[in-house]
Amino acid sequence: MTATLAELMIVAASECWRGDGEVLASGIGIVPRLGASLAKLTHAPELLMTDSETMLVSEPIPLGPRGDYVPRYEGYLSFNRVFECVWGGKRHAMIGPTQVDRFGQSNLSVVGGTYQKPKSAILGVRGLPGNQINHANSFFIPNHGPRVFVAGEVDMVSGPGYNPARFAPGMRMDFIDLRRIVTDLCVMDFGGPEHAVRVRSLHPGVTFEQVQAATGFPLLQAPNLGETPLPTDEQLSIIRGLDPHGLRASTVKNDPPARRAS
């Protein structure tokens, strides 16, 4: 089977939850949700997962209209209880912010202009402040470019990152746990000195220089920098079962083959 870029990113996303133990895996959006679902069906069956509404399920729910699929409920998780998981640190979320900076600070609130009179209002900070101060987080960015990975700080810091200048004495930042960033070009982490962003793996056909040129801040190369693994046939068939309507193709422009011509 020939994998697409979306499928390669789903596999890379799934790797973010490896070894997490019994935490709530919250993949928000198509690729993160399929990544979490793939993780649960392969290397991390212990993950907790919801039906993206209110019930805990023992088996990930396929995307879109479900036909006669019957969800396997194992418990209950209202929004109120999600907050309890957040504050207790028992969660690893993957979301797609509008902007991310070199500290891992994220923005989902406003872009451009001033805070009082922004050029573009998005959603609001949502749960990002609470998520990033309390539990593990990864990001999914399907359009890797300097407008997302900005120079300096994001326009409105919604989720906090590894930026000591924003923390006064006595404020704890040690629960901040930023893991990986999966993009349409590469996988990055915060494993450099003082949590500097490193490229861990490049998608097939992508160069480090290309990634750097698309990023508004300097990047490091992880010592074992390699190529992002292509999905296996087993992973592909699981992904196709989880996304029977092929919604994943809409997450990246034209959804090219995973191994692009360089």
Binding site: S78, S109, P129, V157, S158, F167, A168, P169, G170
Partner: protein
């Protein structure tokens, strides 16, 4: 105790005055008390502080010029992520804002319900929520750890507006949706709470299983408004799903010249029964499918 808390929507909304702080229950496009919001849109009340996990009601109140200040963590219609009239108000600088983390927002309602001035939280530390909102202060633990938290101030409400599946005239309510959201906290945070309901009976006679859907006490409820389909166009499980066709129409009004005025003429400057008729009536609304996530 009032033996009959039933009010018309007009009577309930008449208790909202200029400058009040109004909490709206629900979350995004879920279980919003839209019949009460429409009634509020029909008044000349202004300068409101609106406190909400925001959905289309926030955009409508902004478009109608009723909002002086918005206290929120987000405004969205989920399937239509960007709320058009909220964005206009936010981008024009027309409204004051207190933008909060979703959990801080919950903490503020809890503090108000417990009659506390604040509750401590780490949510918001290291962000522009703290840096750009001078009204948020920090507090140090008085214990050996000395940790510094945000002191999330109580979000005290003058009035809370909620929508429920069933109620009786004493003010007992049932929320049968799978997710109760935070409506109970809105009820506790408010001086006066008005509830619209799909079904209204004189006195509940509940089984123990049904009684579990009663999520806050009738003593918190000051008025009950019978408003079948009163959450339309938002999602009110298990009674009906969201009306995506209507929400798209509303969304388009943000892009049209004079779009809001046209929306008002069609859907607000009418009676509630005319509103329902324009949306296919209770029969169509009852068939709106609950969303698949």
């Amino acid at each position: 105790m009032s033996l009959n808390k039933e009010l018309t929507a007009t009577q309930a909304v008449a208790q909202i005055r200029d400058g009040m702080t109004i909490g709206v229950g629900g979350w995004g496009p879920r279980r919003k008390p839209m019949a009460l919001v429409r009634e509020l849109l029909r008044t000349d009340v202004k300068d409101l502080t609106v406190v909400a996990y925001g959905g289309p009601e926030v955009g409508m109140l902004c478009a109608a010029g009723k909002v002086r200040k918005l206290v929120y963590g987000f405004v969205t219609m989920d399937a239509i992520p960007l709320e058009p009239h909220f964005r206009k108000a936010r981008e024009s600088g027309a409204i004051e804002i207190l933008e909060l983390d979703e959990g801080m927002f919950e903490w503020g309602l809890r503090a108000a319900g417990m009659r506390m001035s604040f509750l401590p939280t780490r949510c918001g530390l290291g962000t522009d929520v703290l840096a750009r909102n001078p009204e948020l202060k920090t507090v140090a633990s008085p214990y050996a750890d000395g940790e510094v938290y945000i002191a999330m101030p109580a979000l005290k409400l003058d009035v809370a507006l909620l929508h429920v599946n069933e109620a009786d005239r004493l003010g007992n309510t049932l929320i049968k949706a799978r997710d109760p959201l935070f409506d109970d906290l809105f009820a506790r945070a408010a001086d006066r709470c008005f509830v619209s309901t799909e079904k209204l009976v004189d006195r509940f006679r509940l089984s123990a299983d049904e009684a579990r859907f009663n999520l806050f006490e009738r003593s918190l409820v000051h008025g009950v408004v019978h408003a079948p389909c009163g959450a339309h166009p938002t999602y009110n499980g298990p009674d009906y799903g969201w009306d995506m066709e209507h929400l798209k129409r509303y969304n388009a009004s943000g892009a049209e010249e004079g779009g809001w005025q046209k929306y008002v003429e069609e859907f607000v400057a009418v009676t509630e029964s005319e509103y329902l008729a324009k949306n296919g009536g209770a029969e169509r609304i009852a068939k709106l499918k609950t969303p698949v996530f």
